[in-house]
Symmetry: C2
């Protein structure tokens, strides 16, 4: 656990999102999906991203027919967790609570989400009691 925080840039993340959402894809497919999402980049740019991401160990590839097919090797959740941690460290010196409070105050949540949240907090309580 606790692997070093692989830094992913904004464009690299966009590529990861495509892989997370639409499974293993070729370079060309990734490019197409990026275009569909409004991010117009050249084929070789996407290739560069995927190559770099593979070097960072966050995607893997295997050849199918003529082209390589790439897939994510890390989960969206793990990236999310690490980004949150970074944010908390960089803005609140590691104290998650103020960040959490801010998040709740700034973003809008539906009633269902609030209910879900409340349940989660109850779970937290019992976890702490043990």
């Amino acid at each position: 656990m606790a692997k070093r925080p692989v830094e992913l840039g904004e464009a690299e993340l966009a590529v990861m999102r495509v892989l997370w959402d639409e499974g293993p894809l070729t370079v060309r497919d990734v490019m197409t999906r990026l275009h569909e999402r409004g991010r117009v980049v050249a084929y070789t740019t996407v290739l560069t991203f995927l190559t770099r991401l593979e070097q960072k160990g966050v995607v893997a590839s295997n050849k199918r027919d003529t082209a390589y097919v790439y897939r994510a090797r890390i989960t969206r959740q793990s990236v999310s967790a690490s980004r949150i941690r970074t944010l908390v460290d960089q803005l609140y010196d590691g104290a998650a609570a103020p960040m959490l409070l801010q998040l709740i105050e700034n973003e809008r949540f539906s009633l269902e989400e609030i209910a879900q949240l409340r349940k989660l907090i109850d779970d937290l309580d019992s976890r702490n009691e043990s």
Copy 2:
């Protein structure tokens, strides 16, 4: 409103944190505070940071005696909010709830913090009822 999110790097944020925490300071004071926090950088490095931050419009300075005194022009909360928004957009397509749940699950909170959180959620309820 909604100025584009001024990008601040990790070291720049460390400088901002010092200014947020300890009010208007000279370059030398900022450097000292950074050293106290374990971030050992040269005087001119701090000067560079402050100059760049001023160019980005996030700090302001005025001369007092011989040296300039710098102060933050944006709040920690505004940076935090914008960072959170970016994160939520980039990882969860703008849905804050999954992110919030993840934050709660991954970070540890004290009983007091949980209580505070619960109170905040009750406030959310009443806000939604209106």
